[in-house]
């Protein structure tokens, strides 16, 4: 079995900050993913490798290139303002972990 070792040009010297554990922790919190310190440590080098890998894009000069969000060559179609949906309370709540009297229920939000 042959695995391709590298078909990608080597990355340029890093211009972006490296992933430290503090950053991983912050990102995990932003993404609402609970992580033990051990997990944070195991994610750190993997994320860092991925970021190093994608950094090779910086070697391409993209001045004046318009970013492309979606390739589909059509115009956005619009919907008419007619009532076609809703009135599904039972179905909306059918998969809810917790509900009562038509409401979804979550642990109390303190403001």
């Amino acid at each position: 079995m042959t695995t391709i070792i590298s078909c990608i040009p080597p990355a340029l010297p890093s211009t972006l900050p490296v992933m430290d554990t503090k950053t991983v922790k912050k990102v995990a919190s932003l993404a609402r993913l609970s992580m033990t310190d051990q997990e944070l440590e195991s994610y750190r080098p993997k994320l860092e490798n991925i970021l190093k890998f994608v950094e090779q894009l910086s070697e391409v000069n993209t001045d004046g290139v318009e970013p492309l969000s979606n390739v589909v060559d059509i115009a956005l179609t619009l919907r008419t303002d007619t009532l076609t949906d809703g009135d599904l309370q039972q179905k909306i709540l059918a998969n809810a972990p917790e509900s009562t009297e038509g409401f979804f229920v979550v642990p109390k939000v303190v403001e």
């Binding site: 079995m1 042959t2 695995t3 391709i4 070792i5 590298s6 078909c7 990608i8 040009p9 211009t15 972006l16 992933m19 990102v27 995990a28 919190s29 932003l30 993404a31 609402r32 993913l33 609970s34 992580m35 994610y43 993997k46 994320l47 490798n49 991925i50 970021l51 890998f53 994608v54 950094e55 090779q56 894009l57 391409v60 993209t62 290139v65 318009e66 970013p67 492309l68 969000s69 979606n70 390739v71 589909v72 060559d73 059509i74 956005l76 179609t77 919907r79 599904l88 909306i92 059918a94 998969n95 809810a96 972990p97 917790e98 979804f104 979550v106 642990p107 109390k108 939000v109 303190v110």
Partner: protein
Amino acid sequence: MTQKSLTHLSITEALAGLSKKEFSAVEYTRAHIEATEQNRDLNCYITETPDIALRQAAESDARRAKGQAGLLDGVPIAIKDLFCTQGVRTTAASRILDQFVPEYESTVTSKIFAEGAVMLGKVNLDSFGMGSTTGSSAFGQTFNPWRSTTSPDVKLVPGGSSGGSSAVVAARMAPGALGTDTGGSIRQPAAFCGISGIKPTYGRCSRFGVIAYASSLDQAGVFARTVEDCALMLKSISGYDPKDSTSANKPVPDFVAGLQGGNVKRLKVGIPKEYRVEGMPQEIDESWHKGTQWLKDQGAEIVDISLPHVKYALPAYYILAPCEASSNLARYDGVRYGRRIEGKDLKETYELTRAHGFQDEVKRRIMVGTYALSAGYYDAYYVKAQKLRRLIRDDYMKAFEKCDVLLTPITPSAAFPVGQNEDDPIKMYLEDIFTISLNLAGLPGMCVPAMLNAEGLPLGLQIIGRPWDEETVLRAARGLEIAADFRALPGMLGTKMAA
């Protein structure tokens, strides 16, 4: 007919048999249910639905008796468990949705049911479509029905993410399957399992009801054992859907009629030199040469072309897809559906729910996407990747001024052992090197099985077409199929079956 012979029919052959009343849809379906039961060790299914299948098959027989048969009437199909199916558990191979039963049906599945297809069940995949092996499934790894002749005891991956779909079709547990392709998730598993699979142009099929991984890249497609079957299935799932703003209101050609017997005379076939990457295994290079020669022999014109930015497809993809995924998967918060793990407060409930509900690879991509979109890095990562995306698409568009289709390898290797590459995401990502740029460019691409390598494992070839030109892709693929005359069967089915 015996069960075995029924499960070896192509869809087109089966439809002929059904219409000639040689066997009923119930018999045909039952044969596949039995094959499914006999091959449970491959771990293809997350949810089998034999009761639904038999009911639908009986309904199909009734329709056919009244002369009202649809395009796929009575044909049992396996469905990637990323398509929402009303009343049938839909998990995305995740823990968080392991009990989720949609109250609605995806457009693509409703289209095949409208054509009379029979649902065998929901097949395995990499969790949320993220992976190339099915190894990230919360329901365990699916195994490739193929084994290498040199190490027949080593279990191989079926590819991914649609690995359940490719494995069932290769193992004759279903004549066709639905999949989705975000970075190669139809074409790579088709190649690993020695079958055909097509990802149409982005916007050809509705994404409504398909659990999203990366919205601007996801596209539904089909698996079957022949190009003609793929054409037939693709025809039935294509078309405009007002419920998906990115689906195109374009006429759907008759893809089956468009095959024209696989005539490639005077077809201009481009060979992109950048696909000849450093360290490419000999066997891959050989298969590519062979394919080129096959098409040439049939009268195609071979054109050398260049796609200078295509080598940046992989890094661009591994920014864009995680960015979109990090946002698409924010809805799995345990509030309205899904498994919830209660914490001491709401934030902890979110964090425990998501940490428990998502597989490692999913979390990794969410983390990368969250980081790349966050304040300060947006331009350096996301915008930069979008710019490369445009350059990559422009490269392809320019190439298509000189040729009608491109021919390329589809994977950098044959199917590999379970567990390999697992610790190194980058190595795993390299699996998609030949497939991923099509998703960035939105192009149709198809895998055709070409030959067996020295270890007796299938290798596929890829045909790439212009946007909205699946017809030419299918025609060229049919040309390859005729020349390749690939008849090998997976080891588990016994080599004597071949012929």
